[in-house]
Symmetry: D2
Subunit: 364 residues, 4 copies
C-alpha cells in the first residue's frame, strides 16, 4: 500500500500543500486512550515554522478530529484528523511548473504521475503532509506514555555544530519533549541558530542529524527478518522529507571498531538483564532487548534555496535556470524532530499491538 503504513495499528495520510486540507487516518488504536487536545496542539506547534529560520508561511494548524474519538477517548475505530490549509499562495508556483527544482521531487513526480500531480508547493510531496503524522503521532505518544514508554529527539548536529550527546535519558527526554528548538546544550543551540540564519541570509540552506532515544520499551518486540525493529523504523523514517540515512546505536562509526569493543556485554542490574554499553541501540537480531532504542537520521540540507540553480524544463526538454519563488525553510531539523518522534511512536505502537494484542495500551 502506498500511503498507509502499519499492520495492527496503521496510519493513512492524504492531502497536498495547496489543497483544501491535509490529514491522517489512524486505525486500530486501542480504545479508551485519552485524546488530549492541548497535547495535540502543542505537538503541532513544535512542527510549525518559527522566526527567521523558517518559511514565512504561517499555518494555524487548526486541526479537526473528524472521527474515532468519543467522549474524549479513542473509540478503536478509524480516527481521522483533518488540518485545513489556509495560507496558500499558489501563484508562486505556476510560472515555474516544469522547471525541476534540484533535490526536489518535481521531475520524479512528473515521471510517476504523468503531469497530473498537483505541483503547487510540492503537492502531496510537501513537508506539510507531516503535520498529519504529528497529529496521529500525538495519539500514539499518549498511548506509549500510558505504558511508560517515552521518546525524545534532539538536533545532534547541524551545519557542522555538535550538540552534546545523550546523558541521563529520562531527564533529557523530559526536557526535549516540550523544547521548541530541541538541543541538549544551549551553547550548541545558539551556534546552530547562527549558522541557520547565516544560511538564510545567503539564500542557502543547512542540514544535520537528528538523534532519537526511546526508553521503557519492553524486550521481545520485533522480528528476526524483514520486520526487524530497525527495518520497520527505518522504513517509516525515510518518509520524513530530506532524511537520507538512518543508523542505530553505534551505526556507521561502529564499523571501525573490533567486535570485542562493540559487543554489548550483558549483566544483571538487580534482577533485570541490562547491557553495559548500548552499541546495538537496544536491538539485537531485530528484536528489542529492553535497553533504550537509539538511532540517528541524516537530514540533508533543505533543497529549496533562493540562489539561482541550473536545471531543466522537463516538458520542453531543455536546460534552464531556476530562481525559486515561494516561501521556504533554510533548515528543517528543528521542525522535523517532532516528526521523528511521531513516526517512531506510530511504528512502536504497531509493533507492540502486533506482539501483545490490540488491548495492549489499555491502562485500567
Amino acid at each position: 500500500m502506498k500511503n498507509t503504513f502499519g499492520q495492527n495499528i496503521s496510519v493513512t495520510i492524504y492531502g497536498e500543500s495547496h489543497g483544501e486540507a491535509i490529514g491522517v487516518v489512524l486505525d486500530g488504536m486501542t480504545p479508551g486512550i485519552p485524546v488530549d487536545d492541548a497535547f495535540i496542539a502543542a505537538q503541532l506547534t513544535l512542527r510549525r515554522p518559527a522566526g527567521r529560520i523558517s518559511t514565512s508561511r504561517q499555518e494555524q494548524d487548526a486541526y479537526h478530529i473528524v472521527s474515532g474519538v468519543f467522549e474524549g477517548k479513542t473509540t478503536g475505530t478509524p480516527l481521522c484528523i483533518m488540518i485545513p490549509n489556509t495560507q496558500t499562495r499558489s501563484k508562486d508556483y505556476a510560472a515555474t511548473r516544469s522547471l525541476a527544482r534540484p533535490g526536489h521531487a518535481d521531475y520524479t513526480a512528473a515521471c510517476k504521475y504523468h503531469g497530473f500531480e498537483d505541483y503547487r508547493g510540492g503537492g502531496h510531496f510537501s513537508g506539510r503532509i507531516t503535520a498529519g503524522l504529528v497529529a496521529g503521532g500525538a495519539i500514539a505518544l499518549t498511548a506509549l506514555h500510558g505504558k511508560g514508554i517515552r521518546i525524545g529527539t534532539h538536533i545532534a548536529r547541524c551545519a557542522g555544530v555538535d550538540d552534546r550527546g545523550f546523558g541521563d535519558l529520562t531527564e533529557d527526554i523530559r526536557r526535549l519533549e516540550t523544547m521548541p528548538f530541541a538541543v541538549l546544550s544551549e551553547q550548541a543551540g545558539d551556534a546552530m541558530l547562527q549558522r541557520m540564519e547565516a544560511a538564510a541570509a545567503a539564500g542557502d540552506s543547512v542540514g544535520g542529524i537528528l538523534e532519537t532515544a526511546v526508553t521503557g520499551m519492553p524486550a521481545g518486540v520485533g522480528e528476526p527478518w524483514f520486520d526487524t525493529l530497525e527495518g520497520m523504523l527505518a522504513h517509516a523514517l525515510f518518509s520524513i522529507p530530506a532524511v537520507k540515512g538512518v543508523e542505530f546505536g553505534g551505526g556507521f562509526a561502529m564499523t571501525d571498531l573490533p567486535g570485542s569493543e562493540c559487543n554489548d556485554a550483558f549483566r544483571m542490574d538487580g534482577d533485570r538483564i541490562v547491557t553495559a554499553t548500548n552499541h546495538n541501540g537496544g536491538i539485537n537480531g531485530g528484536i528489542s532487548n529492553g535497553m533504550p532504542i537509539v538511532f540517528r537520521c541524516a537530514v540533508k540540507p533543505t533543497p529549496s534555496i533562493y540562489l539561482p540553480q541550473e536545471t531543466v524544463d522537463f516538458y520542453r526538454k531543455e536546460n534552464a535556470e531556476l530562481q525559486i519563488q515561494g516561501r521556504h525553510d533554510p533548515a528543517i531539523l528543528h521542525r522535523a524532530r517532532v516528526v521523528a518522534d511521531s513516526v517512531t511512536a506510530l511504528v512502536l505502537c504497531d509493533a507492540l499491538a502486533g506482539r501483545f494484542g490490540t488491548d495492549y495500551f489499555m491502562t485500567d
Copy 2:
C-alpha cells in the same frame, strides 16, 4: 507479516542453522524468466565462507528447486528453493544454551519465543538463512538483467581501510558481479584481508561498510510516503545480519554541506534528463530519477568472537563469563555483499512489478 517481504513480488524465508534445511519461496515473479542453475550456484558460492577469514563450517549449498520452475523457466507460481543443512555440529551449542552471546539475539529470542526457539547456531537468526535470499535473489537479478538493470556491491571500507570509490559504474559493476572478494582496489583488498586475518588470529572480529550501485533503473518508481524507494530498500537491508545503518547518496556526510552544494542540478544529456551530481543517490521524493541508485550499509563487526566475554545466564538470572565455541566468521562483509545485491534485486523487482505490472520482466 513476519518472514515475508514484498507485495507484488514477494519472498518468504524459512529454516534454522542446524535444522534440516533452509529455504525461500519467491512468489509473483513474471513467468518465463530463465532459471540458470550455474548462475544460482555461482551466487551461492559468493556467499559461502572461504579461507581463514571465514567460519570453518563448509556447506555445499546444494540447493534444490522444489517448485515454480518448468522447462527451465519461471512459471509465475511460487518458486520454492530448499538448501539442505549438512554440516551441523549442534553439540557445540548445548552447553552454553542460556548464556546470552553479547551482540547476538540469544536473549531477545528467549524474550520473544519463551525458550521454544531452536537455539543451535543461532537457529532462525543465523546468517545461514541469507542463503535463501541469495538463491531467490538470483532469480530476481536475472529478471532485472533482462531489463538492463544491474547491481554491484563492494566493500567500501573494512577495519578502517577504504576501497576506492565507484568510477565507471558499468565497468565496476561488471567486475564486482563475479569477484569473490569484492573490492575495486586490489591494494585496498589486500590491506583489508590482512586486518581480517589479524582479527581472526586475535580471536576478535572486524566490520565495515558495503556500498551498492544500481544502474539502468527507470525513473518514476517508488512512492512519496512510506513506500519510498529508500524506505523499502532500507526495510529489507536491515534484515541482513549485522547491518546497523543504511544511507543513500551523500548520506550522513552530506549533512554538513550547504544546500547549494548538495542539490543535484538537472541537465540535458542529449534528450535524456540527468543530474550533474548524485548526492541524492538516484532518488528524489522517494522515487527513482533515472540516475544510478547508490547506498551504503554499515556492517558491525561480527559479534561471535573467541575472546572471553562478560554476560548473563538468562535462565538463572546471574552474571556469567562466556567463551564461545562453534565455528564463526571474523568478518562477514565479503560474504554479505552478495546478500546486499540479492535483497536489493528482490526489492526492486517488487517495486517495478507494482508500477508496471506482473508481466514487466517478460523479454519476448
Copy 3:
C-alpha cells in the same frame, strides 16, 4: 489492516453515523482519471433513502473532495472525500445504550471496544459508512468505464419476489446503472415495493438477494490461491452490512447438478474464446476467463425493526425488552445495490492495477 482494503489501489474508510463526517481515502488510482462531480452525486443519490421504504433520515450527502484531484482529474495521490453528517438525532440512542439490538453489532462492539465505541446510530458500524465506499467507488467505476468494463446490480429477489434474470447484459446493465429501484422487471419491482411497504407498516423488515454482473473484464486477472477473484470480491462484499452470503455463477443451486451439466464448454466465437454457458460466473481457478463475472449477495432483512424484541442489557447482564427508537429502513436492498457496484469496482481496479500496473487506466 482493519479499515483499509486493496494492495495496489486501496481504500480506507472512516467516520461514524452521528459523528461530524464520514469519508474515504482512495489511494493508488491511476492519475488522469476524470472526476465527474455529477456522476459522484448521482451515485450517492442512488444510495440515499427514498420514500416510505427507507429511513426518514435525509442526508444531503454534500460530499467534499479534500485531496487527490487537480484540475478535474485524479492526481494519483490519496483522494480523500469527506461527507458531513448533518441530520443526526443522537438522543434517540442514549436511553437504550446497553440494550443490545438483536442482529446488530451493539453487543459485539462492546466486546471489542470495551464500551469506548461511539454507539449512536451504530457508530462506525452504521450503513452510513457505505456512502464513502460509493463516493470512492464512483472514481473506480469511471476508471473501469474507460477500459470498457461495466458493472450492474439488480434486486434479484426481495421478500420472496423474484426479478427476471439477466438477459442482454449490455442493455440490462445500461438500464440498471441509473435506475433508482434497480429491477429488470417492472412488475416484479412493484410487487417488491408492496411487500417492503407492508413490512414497514408492520414495524418489520425484509431481505433479499442482489445479483451483479460485470462485462468487459479481460481474461487472466486473479490468483489461483487466496487472492482468487472470488475470494477478493467476497472479502469486500461481506463488508456491506447485512450481507450473509456470496455465490458466483451457478452458486449453491449448481451443487445439485452433475459435472457434465455444470462445466462450461469452451468454444470459438470468431477468434475469441468464450464459454457456451457461464455456471462458473466468469472465473476459473480464481482467474477471470473473459466471460461476464456474475455473483449474488444474500442480504438479510434489516435488523432494526420497530416490533418489541427480547434482548439483554449487556452492562447489567440481565434480560430486557427492547423497543427500538430512531429512524430505520424496512429494507436496504435498493440502497445496497449501488454499494455492491462500488465495492466490486474497487476490488476489480485493485486486481487490474496489480496485474497490469498502475498506469493501466490511462486512456490517452
Copy 4:
C-alpha cells in the same frame, strides 16, 4: 500477496501437482504449541482419496517438517512442511496440453502465465496443493484446541441428498473430527456414496454443500469493515478448489424471512450472554458474538469428467473435442471437508493472534 494469507499468523503455499513436492510455510504461530505427528498424519489421511469415489492416484503424503519445530514444539519461527510427490504420471497430460478442460483453469492459467505454467495435472492449481493447507492447518487446529475452540465440517448435501442438520454441536464435532466420510446421518451417507459411485460409473461427477461449525470462539474478534470474520473466512474458503459460494448462519435461505424472525434475540444463560437462535452464524457486524460460528460452502461438481466434452484448443484457436485422461475424483466433498476445517483454523488463529497477541495460544 498472492500465495500468502494472514497478517499475524500467515500461511504460504507452494508446489505443483506433478512437481517434486508441495508444501506450506506457517509463520507467526505462537511458540510452544505441541506438534503431534500422529495428528498431522491423521488429518492428511482424511484428505487422501479413498476407494471408488476418488482418484486412483494414491500419494502417501509422507510429509516432512523442514523447519520451525524444535523438541516437538513450534518455535514461533517459520514452520515449513514439505510433502513430496511420488505418484506422478505426467504423460497423461502432454497430449492435451492446449485443450482447455471445461470448468478448469487451463485456459485462464495460460492467459495469466502465458504458457509458462506447469500444466501437468493442473500444476499449481491442483487440489493437491490443499495437502499443504491441511498440514499447516493441523498445527492451527492444535493451537485452537488448546484454547477450547473446535471445528467440525460435514457434507450437508451431496448430489441432492441431505445430511441431517447439526444437533448437539460438541458431540457432532467430536464425531466428525475423525470420521473418514463426514456425515451426521449414516443413512444419508450411504445414499450419497451410492450417487457418487453412480456418477463415477457414468464418467460424470457430483457436487454438494459443506457445513462447518466452530465452538468456543470468544466474542469480540473480527472487524466491522473489510476484515469482517465473514470476509476473512470467505476470502480463504474460496481458495478451496470448486467452492463457488459461502454463506453464514441462515445465509441465502434467510433472505425470505422477515426481520422479526431472523434477528437472534439475546438472553442471559446464567451470566453468559447468548442468543436464542443463531441465524447470524455467530457473527454480528463482522465480529464474533460468542455463539457457534456456522457457515456453508457450495462445492460445484468436480470438473474433471470422463465424458467427452466440447472445448477449444487455445493455441490453435479452434474448436475441439476433449476426452480427459488422467486420474480424477467423481466427487471431492468428502476430501474437501478437512480442507475447510484447516482453512478455517488458519483464519481464526490469525484473527485471534491479531486481537490478543502472538502469545495467545500459550497454554502454560
